[in-house]
Subunit: 209 residues, 2 copies
């Protein structure tokens, strides 16, 4: 299985965690988003959204959009499960995951920040923009997860945790004030002590610089 990925992409990071949690062997194919690899015609033919990740299982299917890839992984490699079995609980876990995947990440990704700068905004303004969406999103996320469990929804990590940890990586990177979110940074510490999360860290990827 090949994962087209960029080391700092939080969407790629989510999929790496899931692959590692499920023990799926994969090969990383770096796509340098800063260098513009995502716009090369050969890559656009694989991923028309010009984004990472793209997962290509050995049967040659081409899967895009991290959340669609994660659902596919959970359907085809069920253990350990990323989602619970009960429909309402599944909806709650997905709602937390989507709070990061829809309400924080898309507003803060490289192309949006690049566009803000092209519209005349400074790096400081771009960082303030990112941190504002993170603060609002983390507050919503914390209210949506289960109260007082070691991980977001129980005693082992699932879909919400593997969206949270990459977004917190970005939060640390941009100096977001995480003091109000001790529950979330506690979950992060527990996750990162697990080998599947540790192996998935941006700095442990072959294209890390």
């Amino acid at each position: 299985m090949r994962l087209y990925s960029y080391w700092r992409s939080t969407a790629s990071y989510r999929v790496r965690i899931a692959l590692n949690l499920k023990g799926v062997v994969f090969q990383t194919v770096p796509v340098d988003l800063v260098g513009g690899d995502q716009n090369a015609p050969g890559y656009v033919a694989l991923n028309p959204g010009r984004a990472v990740p793209t997962l290509v299982p050995d049967d040659g299917a081409v899967l895009t959009q991290s959340l669609a890839i994660l659902e596919w992984l959970d359907e085809t490699h069920p253990a350990p499960a990323l989602l619970p079995g009960d429909p309402v609980l599944r909806a709650r876990v997905r709602a937390a995951a989507l709070t990061i995947a829809c309400d924080i990440h898309p507003v803060n990704n490289l192309r949006v920040v690049g566009k803000l700068k092209a519209m005349g905004h400074s790096q400081d303004e771009a960082v303030a923009w990112m941190n504002d969406w993170m603060m609002r999103g983390f507050a919503a996320f914390e209210a949506l997860i289960a109260p007082a469990t070691p991980f977001c929804f129980g005693d082992r990590p699932g879909l919400a945790d593997l969206c949270l940890v990459p977004q917190l990586y970005n939060a640390h990177r941009w100096g977001c004030d995480l003091a109000p979110f001790a529950r979330l940074t506690g979950i992060e510490a527990r996750c990162l002590s697990l080998p599947a999360f540790d192996a998935s860290r941006p700095e442990n990827q072959p294209d890390a610089t």
Copy 2:
């Protein structure tokens, strides 16, 4: 079942279509996003993301995030199915839906456009911003759906169609140039000829002004 909704919210529109396609009887509870109803403490307790839709089934569960609601609906009210059965096909439908739900809508919603204006940008600049993300997103979406089917992935509408039609409503509203996307506007016309889509149109909601 109660749907907390705003008539012009494209995320609410997606859920209305799914409820109507599946023949689920529901009551609309208007949340006036322009008037700030989403920030009222009583509503934030239901929906910490301060967004619509929120779906409250008769058993009292509180479901947020439109895509999580749609997956729950498909799991609990399976006919007609919004997703196919095969995992790879499911991943392709979800990837198209997420191209709208992650790559277009979150960057263009009311709070993001409000923030751009608060940062000094004009209405014309905000509209150009929205149309740029729509043009990029529609191009990716069109490349991800099945070629030459009446609807996005076959001969009846599903998850991708019910994300597309609301986003095209927004595209028309803001004068987005849809001439390059005849396939998509053809699908839109077929969808809107169906009673479930027609009943879900923004202008047919009780809070439309």
